[in-house]
């Protein structure tokens, strides 16, 4: 660390959905690095440490170094020429950038989807069916005397979910922190999160739905067959005990993760959990919260929802937004070979997607915006280096509980922001298509 340092207080870490805004960053202006992140967890420390300013090409077009301007031109042409262009990712960038992306999709009649579709998309679908009883994290911290973590391992994925927001944290009505709470962990394996749990339920894989449904029944005073033990690995007595605790608490919180959404049942699992939490409000105050993975995936949900009416999996090819998981979600659009061009922003499907989808990404022109080299940027036709949100560039992000926070960037970057690149792509695409992409159909009039 040089002598040339300064401190940026109250910056926000956007590595995970906790979006902790109490980061006090020490920035070394000689080495262009963040050398200290006070209050950060181990993941946050890595996030800040590893996002210094690197020497990277401004852009690559077909593997050759190019300027940002050239890459924007190439990207615009790809999008303007495409018949089924898709835009994906967006969970690790600002709302300002997300808005530009939706605007581009609207202009070109494209498909727009975010990493939600492979994360808590099923929970979003369950939400549309059931609704949700929920709360901001401060409510959980201040009031929750029963906290249940289902299908997640926050100790490793969201460490401060425990320490800042729910388990060990003290609250207005929880003055003794963990001593005033009962913590329950439900999972198929005993993870490091079990260390904070008073009660650990080990469920057989793919049996979460049955356990949740049995709890719903027990909460409502219905009979449940003791064979539930054989089926799920959880004895009836344990479930009866849990149901009783849920009804007896003053403020209960069910926080759930990919263990529900990414396995057999998907949205049925999330739906069962959300319904359970809602049911419990007949007896006490109970909330549920999907634990979101990326720093601004909640922002992506919000932006896409307010601009199109739907949270993810949206297609604009008819001139207006249509929503259909399975049809317009990106894994499907790629696995079935439907898209003929892709714009990927702040995501790495080349690493995270099924093979059939990745194979198709290799067949079509792909544009990537990312601060780092990734599997996707390696297969992309146009790869544009952009700066990192929350570290180099400001903007708005939404925490997992929808609380919007304004970023305080710490370290200027020579690379442009996602927002500025998308804005210029949008403008150039507008020039190229020149208003020719208006569908020839009667404009739907005002509905009464």
């Amino acid at each position: 660390m040089s002598a040339n340092t300064r401190v940026v207080r109250n910056a926000t870490c956007t590595f995970c959905g906790c979006v902790c805004d109490d980061m006090h960053l020490t920035v070394d202006d000689d080495t262009h690095k963040i050398v200290k992140a006070e209050n950060a967890c181990v993941l946050g420390r890595a996030w800040f440490k590893e996002h210094g300013i690197e020497q990277r090409p401004q852009a690559l077009i077909e593997g050759r170094e190019a300027s940002t301007e050239e890459a924007i031109e190439a990207a615009a042409r790809i999008l303007a020429d495409a018949r089924f262009p898709m835009i994906y990712g967006l969970s690790d960038t600002t709302c300002e950038a997300q808005r530009q992306a939706v605007a581009i999709a609207d202009m070109i009649g494209g498909n727009i989807d975010t990493t939600t579709s492979v994360c808590h998309g099923p929970s979003g679908m369950a939400f549309q069916a059931v609704g949700e009883s929920t709360a901001t994290l401060g409510e959980i911290r201040n009031r929750a005397d029963l906290v249940i973590f289902w299908g997640g391992n926050p100790a490793e994925s969201h460490p401060r979910l425990f320490t800042r927001y729910s388990v060990t944290a003290k609250g207005m009505y929880i003055p003794n922190g963990k001593k005033d709470r009962t913590v329950v962990l439900v999972d198929v394996r005993r993870t490091p999160s079990a260390a904070v749990a008073d009660i650990f339920l080990q469920v057989k894989p793919r049996r979460d739905f049955e356990v949740l449904w049995a709890l719903r029944a027990l909460v409502k005073g219905r009979h449940v067959d003791p064979a539930i033990d054989q089926l799920t690995g959880v004895p009836l007595a344990t479930l009866e005990d849990l149901a009783a605790r849920m009804k007896a608490c003053r403020f209960g919180a069910l926080m759930f993760g990919m263990g529900l959404s990414m396995t057999r049942g998907r949205h049925f699992n999330s739906g069962a959990l959300l319904a359970l939490a809602s049911d419990l409000n007949q007896y006490t105050h109970f909330v549920a919260k999907p634990v979101r993975g990326h720093g601004n995936v909640t922002g992506a949900d919000n932006v896409v929802s307010w601009q199109t009416g739907f949270p993810f999996g949206v297609n604009m090819s008819r001139g207006y937004p249509r929503f259909s998981p399975g049809e317009f979600t990106t894994v499907d659009v790629l696995s079935r070979g439907e898209a003929d061009a892709a714009l990927i922003v702040a995501a790495d499907p080349g690493s995270n997607f099924p093979q059939a989808a990745i194979d198709h990404l290799r067949r079509i022109p792909v544009i990537v915006l990312d601060p780092k080299e990734t599997h996707t940027s390696r297969l992309a036709k146009v790869a544009i280096t952009t700066s990192t949100y929350g570290i180099n560039v400001g903007g708005t992000v939404y925490r997992m509980d929808d609380v919007p926070i304004t970023l305080r960037p710490a370290l200027p970057s020579p690379y442009p922001s996602d927002e500025s690149v998308l804005k210029r792509i949008r403008e150039r695409v507008g020039e190229l298509i020149g208003g020719k992409r208006i569908p020839a159909m009667e404009r739907i009039g005002v509905a009464a």
Partner: protein, 563 residues
Amino acid sequence: MLRIVNGRVYDPANGVDGEVRDVCIADGRIVADVAPEAGRIDARGMAVMPGGVDMHCHIAGSKVNLARKLQPEDHRDDVLARTAVTRSGVGGTVPSTFTTGYRYAMLGYTTAMEAAVPPIFARHTLEELHDTPIIDKGFYALMGNNVLLFKLLEKGRREEFRNAVAWLLCASKAYTAKLVNPGGDEAWKGRRNANVTQLDEKIESFDLTPRQVIGALIEAVDELGLPHPAHIHCNNLGHSGNFETTLETMRIADGHRAHITHIQFHSYGQVAGKSSSEPTSKAREIADYVNAHPNISADVGQVMFGKATAMTADAPLGYMLSRLAKGKWINADAEHESGCGIVPFTYQDRVYTHALQWAIGLELFLMAKDPWRMVLSTDHPNGGSFMSYPKLIRLLMDREFRKQEMAKINPRALRQTALADGLDREYTMSEIAIITRAGPARLLGLARKGHLGVGADADITIYEEQDDKETMFATPRYVIKDGQLIIEDHEIRADHEGRVLHVAPEHDPAIAEVVRAFFEDYYSIRFENYPVDDSYLGKHEQVPTRQQAAAVPTASESSAAGH
């Protein structure tokens, strides 16, 4: 420059009632005259009015977006394709943001105020308002369940209370203080979903009553000189017998200005001895009180049959509705500030309660002696979509149509109300202009809105005169915003960014340290990250408080558009 000629002008704020006269526009304002070569609109056979002002709707922010996400089925049937100048979107009772702006404009509305936002979510509302085109807009900040304010008030720290209210308004960029079921949240969140029902009962965990909270906020807002008074959603919304609570709440104001919102939902009596499933109408009592007390204003909150979405900061109410509707339900607590309940809901003319609600709303309109203080709203989308305003206007203006509609509703409900006794009044064009434009603008303290006098914002709607008032008001021929022709021959010709209207009342900056201490102990975000910075405002106008206006020599001209 533009001159509108041959139109029948309805400008009740300036005493113009259907006179054929010119209206001239230059640089976004109404002017006395323009050069002969100015553009012309020939408004022969048309009515010229100021742009509509919706002073209570739910159109932007966290709660709205939850309701929007909740109902894909509501959107699929009602889509808006993109055009060369407009973004695509979807409708239903909770439209996407672009659609919201366009559709308000297409009805001839040029200003709309989002009615309830917890300050912690203000940023979200401003982002959505930024994507709500054409109209001018603003929002009310929820304070009637604010824990910091409660802590100050219970200790009798009135100065700090008032300063904290001002600080919250400045930090959130809001327009006034909003109260929703004051005192109810602590019971809801803290005592297993309980609620308050009496104005004099203790608020859970606090040495305070709802009466004290209401009184303190009414006074504080008045002392701060805000252009619009405390905006109040009374306790006991929807409950039989709640008219008593409403009367009591209005009495608390004691000569100070207070605005009672969606007052229809607060005008129910109760059949003596029967269960609370039998409400009756107390519209007469409520209307009489409002008529007799010039410090009180209200918007009706009319129920319109068909699809609605209940979305309210009154979380216990949301839960109660969900038990009735038996469908999906959202509850969303916001730490220290508010709750939220969302339930898709359909009002049916054959159902006793719904029919009664519809009739009570009409009673309130028809019994109002002062249309300036009983203005039009459906509490969109709680009582019905804003798209139903033209039909509501027809119900008020066209007695025969009203009778036809009355014949369709539950007859027992109708008999409970004075509608059945021949409330025959028909609203005139001038009165409609008051309840949809001039009145709300005046109540909001917007000196340049709701009228067509020189100096007013050039927000103008031109309707083709027709016998069927619903069609007339549903399809303006021209809509002008800030002097720009936005709608011409019923089509949107241009996009436009409206202004965010907000207040910034003077206060003692030392209050920030009091607020900070509370944040450090109890909030889950940092004090430094809570206030919204100006970059979220886009085009905006800071509307002066009474004190700020008095300090400016040419305040009456309001010449500065303000930044």
